[in-house]
């Protein structure tokens, strides 16, 4: 079995699939579908990276893009007011500008692919891609990467802790009581069941005497 032929065939199939799904992103009619087509395109690119022996970056593409596209689909459906993203909608806007930007970036990228001098360095036999990548990323910038990572994680957890208050007026287990109109006052907007009609009673204690 000639592995290089298999790799070539796989590369071309994946490349065509990546371009096709990338094109579908703009031709489909739903935010959710567009996000998932983009995900398919990225997965194909990730497999191409695996073929290039970038085993960490290729696999990282799968989980990063999986979560990213999922979150993107979720938020876009929420903000687009399109019920569940299943109603047909136009996926492109500012047609002239985007056509111009598309042609310009295609020309630039194609010129780079054709004109740039790519290095011809066969992989060494004892290549440890994960170790090499780790040294490349974390060799001199360990402190920056690690502190940024910890700060991001702390932010994420902080946001969830702050927003995980369940009811509007506190934890659901404690019963939902609105706060008083003044500090320590009776819960606002509760029906009066005693006969002090009309009067604002400022007893400061519970209104069932």
């Amino acid at each position: 079995m000639n592995t290089s032929v298999v790799v070539d065939v796989a590369f071309w199939l994946l490349a065509v699939f990546a371009v096709y799904t990338g094109w579908r992103v703009f031709r489909t009619d739903s935010m959710v579908r567009a996000s998932f087509f983009l995900l398919l395109s990225f997965i194909a690119v990730g497999v191409i990276m695996l073929l290039l022996s970038a085993v960490y970056l290729g696999v990282a593409m799968f989980f990063m893009m999986g979560v990213e596209m999922m979150v993107m689909a979720l938020f876009m459906v929420m903000f687009m007011m399109n019920p569940a993203g299943l109603n047909p909608m136009m996926m492109v806007h500012q047609h002239r500008l985007s056509i111009g930007a598309g042609i310009a970036s295609f020309v630039i990228l194609a010129a780079m692919a054709l004109l740039a001098g790519f290095p011809q360095r066969p992989l060494p036999d004892d290549l440890e891609p994960v170790v090499a990548l780790g040294n490349e990323l974390l060799g001199d910038s360990m402190l920056i990467f690690e502190s940024a990572g910890v700060v991001l994680l702390a932010t994420m957890i902080g946001v969830v802790v702050l927003s995980s208050q369940r009811g509007r007026f506190g934890s659901a287990e404690h019963g939902s009581m609105p706060p008083g109109l003044e500090p320590g006052g009776d819960p606002a907007g509760m029906p009066d069941d005693d006969e002090e009609a009309g009067g604002h009673h400022h007893h400061g204690h519970h209104h069932c005497h």
Partner: protein, 312 residues
């Protein structure tokens, strides 16, 4: 020579993957039935027969359709979920030589399977174009991130002593002492995450009764059969990874490696079945708090523990 290499590296590992997809799923259904019986739930049929008759019934049942579903997602989601479970099982090393997918980053690939499962579960609920299914899908995505985070931290913990992201190297690093002993918080957390990721037992919030079946409320017939097979297969894959990274995988005296892996997987599935029946379903909001406020900090402690032990 080439034929024997092919047999070792391709045929036997793949045979094990398919055996786990078929036999593992069936045995899981039997274990779940046994767990249900041990808690006194009445069963009309024997636990050995019930999974087969349910499968046969789903196979001949009409497959439902909804008004204007997303046709591709609607039909593909169960199959994609099953495919992800198969990818997970392909990462399990059955012995030193029988590994279907031996990547330098196979542990990260398992993390990707967990992340992509979120997409597929969302697709299953969303594509039906139906209220309860969509609510189940949104619910799973909202909770799924916390499951994945806990799983990642626990798995980074087992990669530390091996100094590698390859699952085979992680098994080899447990030659003297298994990770379940070295990192006592790891396996319990991973077991809970496994139930959550396959939405079973206490964490069955995506396909739950309060949503009339959640993401699969509209699915019937053969697609429903594939969906249920895929959910079980994902749990079997989960048990394979847990048996490998915490219980020493193929390591063990007397018996051949693949047999050890299977026995350990069955033990984990039995514990999962019992846990799933023992705990009641919790509400989504309390599940969110449990994950972020209790289990995630425990995962941090597990990781710090693993780091300190690795440094000493």
């Amino acid at each position: 020579m080439a034929a024997s290499v092919m047999l070792e590296q391709l045929v036997w590992p793949l045979a094990m993957v398919f055996a786990a997809l078929g036999g593992g799923v069936y045995l899981w259904a039997v274990l779940d039935g046994l767990a249900a019986r041990s808690f006194g739930l009445p069963r009309a049929q024997s636990v050995w027969q019930r999974p087969l008759s349910r499968g046969a019934w789903l196979l001949i049942q009409q497959s439902n359709n909804t008004e204007a579903p997303d046709r591709w997602g609607w039909r593909l989601a169960p199959a994609l979920y099953l495919a992800l479970a198969a990818v997970g099982l392909a990462l399990v090393p059955w012995s030193r030589d029988w590994v279907a997918t031996d990547l330098a980053t196979s542990l990260v690939l398992w993390g990707s399977v967990e992340a992509l499962a979120t997409v597929v579960i969302f697709l299953q609920g969303w594509s039906a174009n139906s209220h309860f299914a969509l609510m189940g899908a949104y619910r799973y995505v909202a909770l799924g991130l916390s499951y994945i985070l806990i799983s990642m931290f626990v798995l980074i913990g087992v990669a530390l002593p091996a100094e590698s992201l390859a699952i085979t190297r992680i098994v080899a690093s447990q030659q003297d002492v298994w990770n379940v002993v070295r990192q006592p918080l790891g396996l319990p957390l991973f077991l809970l995450v496994g139930l959550a990721l396959t939405f079973r037992g206490p964490f069955n919030l995506a396909d739950s009764q309060d949503l009339a079946g959640g993401t699969s409320v509209e699915v019937s017939g053969p697609p429903r059969l594939v969906w249920e097979l895929a959910r079980s297969a994902m749990l079997v894959a989960f048990s394979g990874i847990a048996a490998t990274v915490f219980l020493g995988g193929w390591l063990g005296p007397w018996l051949p490696g693949p047999l050890w892996v299977m026995l350990k997987m069955l033990a984990i599935l039995a514990v999962q079945a019992w846990l799933g029946r023992w705990f009641a379903v919790i509400t989504p909001s309390r599940c969110l708090s449990l994950m972020w406020l209790i289990l995630l900090p425990l995962a941090f402690i597990d990781l710090i523990w693993a780091g300190v032990v690795a440094l000493l």
